[in-house]
Symmetry: C2
Subunit: 333 residues, 2 copies
């Protein structure tokens, strides 16, 4: 039988309240009594029941990791997995647990029974609609929103420096490598991250006084390997070919690499190519891909740190944390 507080109290000859206080090291308890209670607890291998404690304190020490997504991949998504890893690690340090859930429906999000009333806070990844964020706000649930441009009052926002990363790629292509005809393969530009990368693409042309090459290709919103392949095939039909390609994601870039090779062209001699994300495949392809490393684990850690601040002081104003990126130059450029 599992020992409970009343067992400890009885054996130690004190009241439940005293036992409870002693176990949480309250200064109200005499050292001697404290010691006695602690020893008794250890003897019985006592562990407080977390449900009961949560009931009494209104704190579960659970946080929700919520992905707004209809289909898989959920955590095996190249972006979300490492974020969750960082969050798990950082949360564990504070004795917090993480519940993972995926929904793509607002009502559903809040009907999930444990999210309903049993999380101390939430991490929102992927593009949750604004109403969801508002609803968390309304319910007073501490919230950290990751890579989403929407702001609201009492949340923290974590984002990586998309603009800076994309600028670094462009400056590398233009300044270090001297390219002047640069194509851009991107996903649906409605997504804030891709929109920002695209803006950097344009801005760097302006900064260096280079006319924008007529080679911006939109892949399907899936942004799959095939999308990258097909986009590049299109580009290769142009009268004037680009000398470099900046793809908005590594997957698109790698698809494009295959198209370039299939056309009998060499990378980077004929066409250089750079991606974005530094997925694990990036250094496994041939040639290894120049890309922007986004420290996703750091995003997850920062998110937990900010969430903890919110939980401790819900009145604190909203904060934006930007995680810096790193240009990783490999043989593809």
């Amino acid at each position: 039988m599992k020992a409970k507080l009343s067992d400890i109290a009885r054996l130690a000859g004190v009241s439940k309240s005293t036992a409870s206080r002693a176990l949480r090291n309250s200064s109200l308890v005499k050292d001697e009594t404290k010691k006695l209670v602690l020893e008794t607890a250890k003897m019985l291998n006592y562990k407080p029941n977390s449900l009961a404690r949560a009931m009494a304190t209104k704190r579960t020490k659970i946080i929700g990791f919520l992905m707004y997504k209809k289909n898989k991949p959920y955590v095996s998504h190249t972006f979300f997995g490492p974020i969750l890893d960082g969050a798990i690690e950082e949360a564990a340090k504070r004795d917090y647990h993480i519940i993972v859930a995926a929904t793509n429906d607002m009502a559903d999000t809040f009907n999930k029974h444990f999210i309903q009333d049993s999380i101390d806070g939430a991490l929102l990844v992927s593009l949750h609609p604004e109403e969801v964020i508002k609803e968390f706000d309304r319910r007073g649930i501490p919230l950290v929103v990751i890579n989403n441009s929407m702001k609201s009052r009492n949340n923290a926002f974590i984002e990586d420096d998309n603009y800076g990363g994309a600028c670094a790629v462009m400056e590398h292509l233009i300044r270090d490598r001297g390219h002047t005809r640069i194509a851009h393969i991107t996903e649906n530009r409605d997504h804030p991250s891709y929109r920002v990368r695209y803006k950097a693409f344009l801005d760097m042309h302006a900064k260096y006084g280079i006319p924008v090459f007529d080679g911006v290709v939109l892949a399907d919103s899936a942004a799959s390997f095939e999308d990258g392949y097909n986009a590049m095939k299109d580009l290769l039909l142009r009268k004037t070919l680009p000398t470099a390609v900046f793809a908005a994601t590594d997957v698109l870039a790698i698809g494009a690499m295959h198209a370039i090779k299939d056309a009998g062209l060499r990378i980077p001699d004929d066409i250089a190519i750079a991606g974005y994300d530094d997925i694990s495949a990036a250094f496994m392809v041939d040639p290894p891909l120049t890309t922007v490393r986004v420290d996703r684990e750091q995003i997850g850690k920062a998110a937990i740190i900010e969430l903890m601040k919110q939980i401790e002081d819900p009145e604190k104003p909203s904060r934006v944390v930007t995680i810096s990126n790193e240009l990783v130059i490999r043989a593809s450029t």
Copy 2:
């Protein structure tokens, strides 16, 4: 203010007990009363408090996804992520939630407060030591163990068909492609999965009457890209070269591919190569890699299904579920 059961009861003019029963559609409640209660509940947007319910029923509807790992990657591991995805999806169908945790310490595993007493069951992935499994058993916590050869009384075990998958690779190399000098690059063979793949490697030689080529190379237990690269470099120093390589994982295989190319040899003309796992990079490398596709999501789903059976009937005997694999032939062989 959130409505609670007593609010519903008061407004509907019934007792808490009746309200509680009506909400759970008990046959003890008159239809008329039931309707009244339900309407009141809907009006107040009532949602039962899951903590209180869990307290009373001794069921949290939470299951633990436990990884026995000291360091990251946790869920971003190519193997664990998709398993978790499958588990999330399957659990959601049943209104179950998943808490993810990583530990590499037995005491720690059971001290995590929410695992302690607030999960209805657990999924164990990666190599948890036998004592951990025993301890779950002792505590009577329903358990499903994934890809671990250890058996115990009342658990289910899910594993993919490592032996069958590895045999398929070998038969492809031997029978379809006529190779007779096949090297094997593997990880630490103490790991059950790798041991089984190695056994298949040997068995298929026996089956086809081929002497085993002197080219079994053990990578470091990290089984990284570099390990694969270095293992292949070693192989390339031999007097007699293999005509094919079976690597125990795709990552090792891809590392080896780079070594082969660096040596100026062609794949598959000079040396063919096959991997195992079908990681996302497998079809992105050049040439695309022949490998064994392990349906990891299916493993996660099957694990939840088996766990639910255990939760519903803890007396049910242990079961072993084997998920079949698929040989994916690409241009590397």
